[in-house]
């Protein structure tokens, strides 16, 4: 029945117009209406995104659910309203619509000021993020990409912590600085090809110098977003200041946009440059895994710790993407390269669940104690046993325990990295130790032990609402860990196609 619905437009515009509607409910005296309306819009959008999964054609790398306006949107530059998803983008849209539902539930009672605006910001951002994943036209992509910054800027700036101004500025300037380079690259590509369609970019020939410059321009934009070492320092600050919902969306979706950019732009448009500079990407990724792993260990603030852990986990994503050339060099064939890319993709989805869950857990504690400092806690299990069970589960998932989603991506990437070089795998596998060390050491200090102070003694265990969102995430984390096959099936053809693009020289 959904076959002829413009599903992609719906998942973009329903939340955006829904968000405007929520905004129109007015001041905080109408807060209950704003919440219910927001939840309804979020659930509706999630429901609308499900047919993308059920109706998805396996075995093809073609764009699906394609919508393309007959007339150009901006004729002067040959820009079209052109949407479509493949096996790489589709799961990310589902992740976005799922996460937004959680965020609306998570903000239900916690946010008491400007409720309508808060909810609206998240809904509008959801639509824009879906737009980024669905855009097939580069100009459209860029518009969504930049527009998305605004609601996040507002979310941190208004509902954020005491140091929010510094954090928002840093966040905005960092990412904006990156985006400018992407814009220049896109304009160059348009100039050469006369089109903004991404598939046209994929087809066109490019000289090596041009490729290198374009690759670097994209790299700056995407590396900031992922974030990769050394342009990662905005993330811990943004997370610490952001409200819980902001952190969840930031970690679960926004970081994925950078990684998605590598797959959609860098690798297929500049394959030769990507191959020539893979050493750079691999080095930065491994630095992220090891260096950031150590840094996470010494954090005193729970949110900072999880933020650093996010950076380390995203290192696996970029590592997996850029292994193909080394594998080819080392073993003479490409077996294992697709595994690395798929591992990176699974890691993206999994990290969305796990880091989202961990930020929600910290949010649950913060709402009660108004502190994120590890030293203010201890013995939480005594007063919040149900919460403690969730926290231990998610911490274990964060340290890559088999049977949880956290294992799948890391496992595939390490297997793939071994084919490229023993030492890549060796360094990547240190996450087994470091990841467990920082996650479980935090759990030890926060959750276990005797009750350390009066305030912990007075803690109330999670409410039904909190149980709901943690349970949904727990099911997602375990479900993906026990049976990842369906997710890989969806990606399979698109990844194979991408790999083929990467291996086809454009010189």
């Amino acid at each position: 029945m959904f076959a002829d619905w413009p599903l992609l437009s719906l998942v973009i515009w329903v939340p955006i117009f829904g968000g405007l509607l929520v905004l129109a409910t007015g001041g905080d005296e109408k807060a209950p209406a704003a919440r219910i309306l927001a939840l309804a819009v979020a659930i509706l959008t999630f429901a609308l995104s499900l047919p993308l999964w059920t109706g998805f054609q396996l075995g093809t790398a073609e764009m699906q659910f394609v919508e393309r306006s007959a007339e150009p949107w901006i004729p002067a530059f040959n820009i079209y309203y052109h949407l479509g998803v493949d096996g790489i983008a589709m799961p990310l849209i589902l992740l976005t619509t799922f996460s937004t539902v959680l965020v609306v539930i998570a903000g239900w009672e916690v946010i008491q000021t400007r409720v309508g605006q808060y909810m609206a910001a998240f809904l509008i951002m959801e639509g824009l993020m879906n737009g980024v994943f669905a855009a097939v036209d580069a100009a459209l992509f860029y518009v969504f990409w930049e527009a998305m910054l605004i609601p996040m800027f507002i979310i941190i700036g208004i509902w954020g912590g005491p140091n929010r101004v510094y954090a928002t500025l840093k966040f905005f300037l960092y990412t904006f600085f990156g985006s400018v380079f992407m814009l220049v690259a896109l304009l160059y590509l348009y100039n050469v090809s006369g089109s903004f369609a991404i598939p046209d970019f994929h087809q066109m020939k490019l000289g090596m110098n041009a490729q290198i410059l374009i690759f670097l321009a994209f790299l700056i934009a995407f590396a900031v977003k992922v974030p990769m070492w050394p342009v990662h320092t905005w993330l811990p600050d943004a997370h610490v200041e952001a409200p819980t919902g902001g952190s969840v969306i930031l970690a679960a979706i926004m970081l994925k946009l950078g990684a998605y950019g590598f797959l959609r732009f860098s690798l297929p448009i500049t394959p030769d440059a990507s191959g020539a500079l893979d050493w750079l990407m691999i080095s930065l990724s491994l630095i992220a895994v090891v260096y950031i792993g150590f840094v996470a260990l010494v954090q005193a603030d729970m949110k900072k710790l999880i933020a650093y852990s996010s950076i380390a986990h995203m290192g696996f994503v970029t590592l997996g993407f850029f292994l193909a050339w080394r594998i080819l060099d080392n073993s003479g064939d490409l077996r294992g390269a697709a595994m690395g890319i798929q591992g990176g993709l699974v890691q993206m989805i999994s990290h969305g669940f796990i880091s989202g869950a961990l930020f929600l857990c910290v949010g649950v504690l913060y709402d009660r104690m108004h502190s994120r400092q590890i030293r203010d806690y201890g013995g939480v299990v005594n007063t919040m046993p149900v919460f403690a069970a969730f926290m231990v589960l998610f911490a274990m998932a964060n340290s890559g325990l088999p049977g949880t989603s956290g294992f799948v991506g890391e496992f595939l990437v390490i297997l793939s990295a071994f084919k490229a070089d023993f030492w890549f795998a060796f360094l990547a596998a240190t996450t087994l130790i470091l990841g467990a060390a920082y996650s479980l050491w935090m759990v030890k200090r926060v959750i276990f032990g005797e009750v350390v102070n009066e305030r912990v003694a007075k803690l109330q265990d999670i409410t039904g609402r909190e149980f709901l969102f943690l349970m949904l995430l727990a099911i997602a984390v375990i479900g993906l860990g026990v049976w990842p096959a369906p997710l890989l099936e969806v990606m399979d053809a698109s990844v194979a196609h991408l790999l083929q693009q990467m291996m086809t020289s454009k010189l």
């Binding site: 840093k170 300037l173 960092y174 050394p230 320092t233 905005w234 260096y291 150590f294 840094v295 996470a296 260990l297 010494v298 954090q299 073993s331 077996r335 294992g336 697709a338 595994m339 798929q342 013995g379 299990v381 005594n382 231990v392 274990m396 340290s399 325990l401 088999p402 049977g403 294992f407 799948v408 496992f411 595939l412 390490i414 297997l415 071994f418 084919k419 023993f422 030492w423 795998a425 596998a429 240190t430 087994l432 130790i433 470091l434 467990a436 060390a437 479980l440 050491w441 030890k444 276990f448 032990g449 005797e450 026990v482 049976w483 990842p484 096959a485 997710l487 890989l488 099936e489 399979d492």
Partner: protein, 659 residues
Amino acid sequence: MSADDIKLIGIAIVLAPLVGAALAGLFGAYLGRKGSHWVTILGVAIAFGLSAVLFKAIVFDGAETFNGPVYTWLATEGIRFEVGFLIDRLTVMMMVVVTFVSLMVHIYTIGYMHDDPGYTRFFSYISLFTFSMLMLVMANNFMQLFFGWEAVGLVSYLLIGFWYKRPTAIYANLKAFLVNRVGDFGFLLGIAAVLMVFGSLDYATVFERAPAVVGQYFTILEGHEWEVLTVICLLLFVGAMGKSAQVPLHVWLPDSMEGPTPISALIHAATMVTAGIFMVARMSPLFELSETALSTVLVIGATTAFFMGLLGLVQNDIKRVIAYSTLSQLGYMTVALGVSAYAAGIFHLMTHAFFKALLFLGAGSVIVALHHEQDMRKMGGLYRYMPVTWITFLIGNLALIGTPGFAGFYSKDSIIEAVAESHIWGAGYAYLAVVAGVFVTALYSFRLYFLVFHGKERMDEHTRAHLHETPPVITVPLILLAIPSVVIGALYVGDMVFGNWFGSAIVVAEAHDVLGELAREFHGPLAMATHALSTLPFWLAVAGVATAWFLYLKRPDIPDRLARRLAWLYRLLTEKYYFDRFNEVVFAGGARAIGDFLWRLGDRLLIDGLVVNGSAKLVGFSAAVLRHLQTGYLYHYAFAMILGLLALLGYFVLWTPQG
């Protein structure tokens, strides 16, 4: 029995304890204490009963080995990662041992944890453990093996930290998990190497292709070539060292005694810690192809067997003595693997599972009777009050020290004989270690025995007045475990060790087949026992018991004087060779220092301080400077224009090419 039946039964065996764990864990509050223990005991009892059915089918009725998938976990590039079972003789033996000991521990727990507020949670955990361990032993591929491997690690973590209020318990469980992760780090790399070399993670495929890669090399460091199979085996063995607590990754096991005693019996003695032994035996088709790997295994095992036994001599906590004994016995098993006597290693694993579970549960019985007192200096003379515990404990001890006729004798003596027979590099050292280890084993075992059950009653008056035998839920499992501790050795040594009982499950190269050599001299269990009376190990064991009797019953003043006289040695032993101190300072401290350094210098000073905020300041500074140019005075602007005009004119005049 058809393959489909075996598969269905296999699924039921795995799921029964998982369902029990889930019910007790999620709905413990509704089920109540009775409901929780019944549902989990039922789950494990089903698993045990069905394991016995499979054991009968495979061993007695000659059913085919089952090797097949249950479901596809994921597929990529044509490689299917599956969850599946390999059910052969090795598997069914492990399944029966695991589910039997687990069942005993479940029943025992009713008594031991009677007053604990975490009663239902405990049952949930040990059932979850049973599920994980079964997944581990029944796996037919490396991915699932790793799943089981880590899952038992998780449950071990949860159970060591079961009493989460105790600082020592939550320190110990973090330590256990991290040390195990160091092992898993190697193990995972080993699995990655297997996939790279063989293109598959299925045992059957890998074993089939293994002989073809002999003589292939990796370059890991420039200029150093490593044989592929050696690298794979060594990496896998690092995993075994973590799980089976071999030096230097043994440090977590003594501390794991912070957990409740039933799990010390189940997890940290009988089953989980033997996973490494099982794994290496399972991988015998690979290890057989690398003598370097075998020698490494042998030397590490021998070192663990002897030196960890010594530490048992100076401990005063009853459970820690048994823990060091476990380390030492795991060393014996590892030694067996190193000399390719896999069957002997697995046989010792089995007998050890029974008598060590018995010893731990016996110790638990003592601990309960003394109101959770674990210090042996406050025990003594208990044989008067606790006859069942006393006799069963004595049986366990006799089995442990290798008294001819008892289960431990047959397995341990086979290992010692196998080492004597072996010519692999390191066998000489290993022989010394395992023979000397016999004396040490007898000494620490009977030191414990005399201190606890005989001699002066050193507990306080109040405790003594209330001393009595523990209830049947505790003593019945002791009796049920004491039976195999006596008879199982004599019953099975002929078949399992010398009779090629495991069939195709264990592969031994012609040149390493020490058990095959020994089999020719084997004339039944009785002859083996009588022959032993004239051998060195037997008299060393007797000497050990006699020394213990002299030092701890006859002249209890001597040990203290010895400790003072040999203060440096005593200190070395009580400090556990300084492994813990070293790890604490170098690894834990080092990691924190590195993290702190990178964070302060890298992130905050260089990246944020210099580059990010630096550029912001630079922009601010430039703006401040440039601001002065915009003064608003017309003559300033006019002056600037003239300067610019002059500069341009100069440029054209001077640099324009002539012509």
